[in-house]
């Protein structure tokens, strides 16, 4: 992959005059090895699917995607970003699952005056004072999804809440988000080591002692199933309701189904999207993904799919002048593309303004466990940091 990309790059440099681009090179940083790679795989599949659905063309340009593996590690993420920007000289950088990886890598792209699109991570640092004209986010700001969950908790009459989340950039934002809207008391809060801690025996004993009305967690990737398994083993399943964000998704649900953990059916979470969100682009994406890979896509994939169509819409406006960063930026800011979430618009800080729904874990017509949209919780929501952004 790396070698062919290098060869292609040098061949192109020899053949074409530098001013006229014939292809667009997109650097896509995600997690392709380690325990976080299930997410990276969902994103990579969705990027490939987007490429097929656009016939490998953006406007008149051929598309070349060069993947970078962050190995679930901020330092490695920064290194691979440097390689993409400096050695491969990509036209645009996208991807990034983890907030801490994105925060470590963002300057590399922005200092080189290239466009950076986050396909998942939405740390507050880049939404508020640190917003940047060259930085776009195609997912959400970290606080928003738990803010919607806080509203759901209020509606359910939860008074005493116990909060457990990983101790890194996104975990802190998630906790801040739920605290922003939740009106009851937070009776306990544990921030656990990330990504190393996979055993929550001590925290679950504390939950038992505190006996709250609900437990709020944020555990993406492999951590979610492990946490919920231990929640069950500790005898808390069915005793104290578990409310989660970014924990139960199309990646983890098949695993719960394999393990026959019927208890997760009916679980409510909040999200901007679900596979059954009804619009033309999403219906096609979900149907194609299921046909090609046999499972439901997760929201990570949906965001990656959107990222590719956003870039395509900008390239179509620019023709071959993709090296004009000002024009490129303006074209992306229009967000004139078909999104899997229906209407899509950027706010002043170039994070999306969008709806957040409650969604429920259900079994589909064929018995596969998936998530389904229930109610609109936050309508056209803009993140709370946008006001601090000077743009």
């Amino acid at each position: 992959m790396f070698k062919t990309a290098l060869l292609a790059a040098s061949a192109l440099a020899l053949l074409s005059s530098p001013a006229l681009a014939e292809s667009i090179k997109i650097g896509f940083v995600t997690t392709l090895t380690t325990g976080g790679s299930v997410i990276g795989e969902d994103m990579r599949r969705s990027v490939e699917l987007a490429l097929i659905n656009m016939n490998l063309k953006m406007g008149d340009l051929d598309v070349e995607v060069i993947y970078g593996d962050d190995e679930f590690n901020p330092q490695k993420g920064r290194q691979v970003t440097e390689r993409l920007v400096k050695q491969q000289d990509v036209d645009i950088v996208a991807g990034y699952i983890w907030s801490n990886v994105l925060l470590a890598s963002a300057n590399v792209v922005l200092d080189a005056d290239k466009i950076l699109i986050s396909s998942n991570a939405g740390p507050s640092q880049l939404a508020g004072k640190g917003c940047n004209p060259n930085f776009f986010n195609v997912s959400w700001q970290n606080d928003q999804t738990p803010m919607a969950m806080g509203e759901v908790l209020n509606q359910k009459g939860v008074e005493n809440l116990y909060v457990i989340a990983p101790n890194y950039a996104a975990g802190k934002n998630m906790v801040a988000g739920v605290e922003r809207t939740f009106k009851g008391n937070i009776v306990g809060k544990d921030m656990t080591a990330w990504p190393d801690q996979l055993d929550w025996a001590a925290e679950l004993s504390k939950v038992k002692a505190a006996n709250p009305d609900g437990v709020f967690i944020f555990y993406p990737a492999r951590h979610g199933p492990a946490f919920i398994k231990q929640y069950q083993q500790a005898g808390l399943f069915g005793q104290i309701p578990l409310y989660s964000v970014f924990t139960l998704d199309s990646i983890s649900l098949p695993r719960f189904q394999e393990a026959k953990m019927e208890g997760v059916l009916g679980t409510i979470m909040t999200q901007f999207w679900a596979p059954d969100l009804d619009n033309e682009q999403n219906n096609r994406f979900v149907a194609d993904y299921r046909a090609k890979y046999g499972t439901y896509p997760a929201f990570y994939g949906a965001q990656a799919y959107d990222t590719m169509f956003l870039i395509k819409s900008a390239v179509e406006q620019l023709g071959t002048k993709i090296h004009d960063v000002d024009a490129f930026r303006a074209a992306i800011a229009k967000a004139d593309f078909p999104s899997v979430r229906g209407d899509f618009a950027f706010g002043n800080n170039q994070f999306p303004i969008q709806n957040f729904y409650s969604r429920e874990v259900v079994a589909d017509a064929d018995g596969n466990w998936t998530t389904s949209i229930r109610d609109l919780v936050l309508e056209k929501n803009q993140d709370p940091y946008a006001a601090e952004c000077a743009m």
Partner: protein
């Protein structure tokens, strides 16, 4: 109410400690007797977990899964020793670190190729998947009690193996003075293969025992390996007894730190500061303990005889 929590956290600490013991027993023998720094010990922990997950899925029984996975991990350990490590004994520690770090990458990629990136979960029989009421209002997950009992049984078995059998005598002789043991006619290469295989099986067992709790996943061995190195430094390199005491100390201190440190800090600093300092400080505590042990008793708490 509070003493119930305290008792539960104590059990949690013991459970973590005993699991660490399974992992560090092999590490301390390999490091102490073979003088080999084996960073890939955690990979055997991971391989054990994946073997158990596969065999459990095939046979439908966790017990049979573990019984099949144990010899399988032993074989992997022996193959690794014969193919890779045997050539390294004469070299220095830096070469050991480089080669075994390479093994970590190799095993992680191998697992990704064979089992996929998603990892595997091990379903437990329904009877083991719940909590049980103990005395004084304490409820505790049954499976964690099983981990405690199995680990204790292994600890007792190891004690007998090392202090009462001929093999144990050879291991002790090797730990005290390898050159002398070799000069007295002990077949050192065969002893090394045996020790490495034993260590691999113990690490694999630890992985198998924890997999139903945390799931089998790529890279699961690396973080816990750091804990295991702290354990053997505290306990004294080459000493099984030291590994047991060190592991229990680390398990209890780490669990208690995670449970009560933020509350204790509230007495001295503001809630906001305690909230950020709590997790940071509790994850440092075991390293502070290690630094203390190194400063006061650099050879560890229970170094093997002949090495004091």
């Amino acid at each position: 109410m509070n003493y119930v929590l305290l008792a539960e956290q104590f059990l949690n600490g013991i459970q973590l400690g005993l699991l660490l013991f399974l992992l560090s027993a092999g590490l301390t023998l390999v490091f102490g007797i073979m003088d080999l720094v084996n960073l890939a010990h955690g990979s055997l922990y991971m391989i054990g977990a994946f073997f158990a997950a596969t065999f459990t899925a095939l046979t439908g029984s966790f017990l049979i899964g573990v019984l099949l996975a144990l010899p399988a991990t032993l074989v992997v350990g022996i193959v690794v020793e014969i193919v890779v490590l045997r050539t390294l004994y004469a070299r220095n520690h830096l070469d050991h670190v480089l080669a075994t770090f390479g093994l970590i990458l190799f095993f992680n990629e191998l697992v990704r190729v064979v089992w996929g990136p998603a990892g595997m979960s091990i379903p437990l029989p329904a009877a083991l998947d719940v909590s049980v009421s103990l005395l004084f209002g304490i409820t505790y997950p049954i499976y964690r009690i099983v981990i405690i009992l199995v680990s204790l049984a292994v600890a007792v078995g190891l004690y007998f193996l090392i202090s009462r059998t001929r093999i144990g005598m050879l291991i002790r002789a090797g730990a005290s003075n390898r050159t002398m043991a070799g000069a007295l006619g002990v077949n050192i290469p065969r002893l090394f293969t045996l020790i490495f295989g034993l260590g691999a099986a113990l690490a694999g067992l630890a992985g198998m025992m924890i997999a139903p709790v945390t799931q089998a996943s790529i890279g699961m061995g690396e973080q816990i390996l750091i804990f295991a190195f702290v354990v053997i430094v505290i306990g004294g390199i080459g000493s099984i007894r030291g590994a047991l005491v060190g592991a229990l100390l680390i398990g209890i201190i780490d669990t208690m730190g995670r449970s009560f440190l933020d509350v204790l800090l509230l007495v001295v600093i503001s809630p906001a500061a305690a909230e950020t300092a709590g997790p940071a400080l509790s994850s440092m505590m075991i390293y502070i303990l290690m630094a203390l042990v190194l400063a006061i008793r650099p050879q560890g708490l229970f170094p093997p005889r002949g090495r004091q």
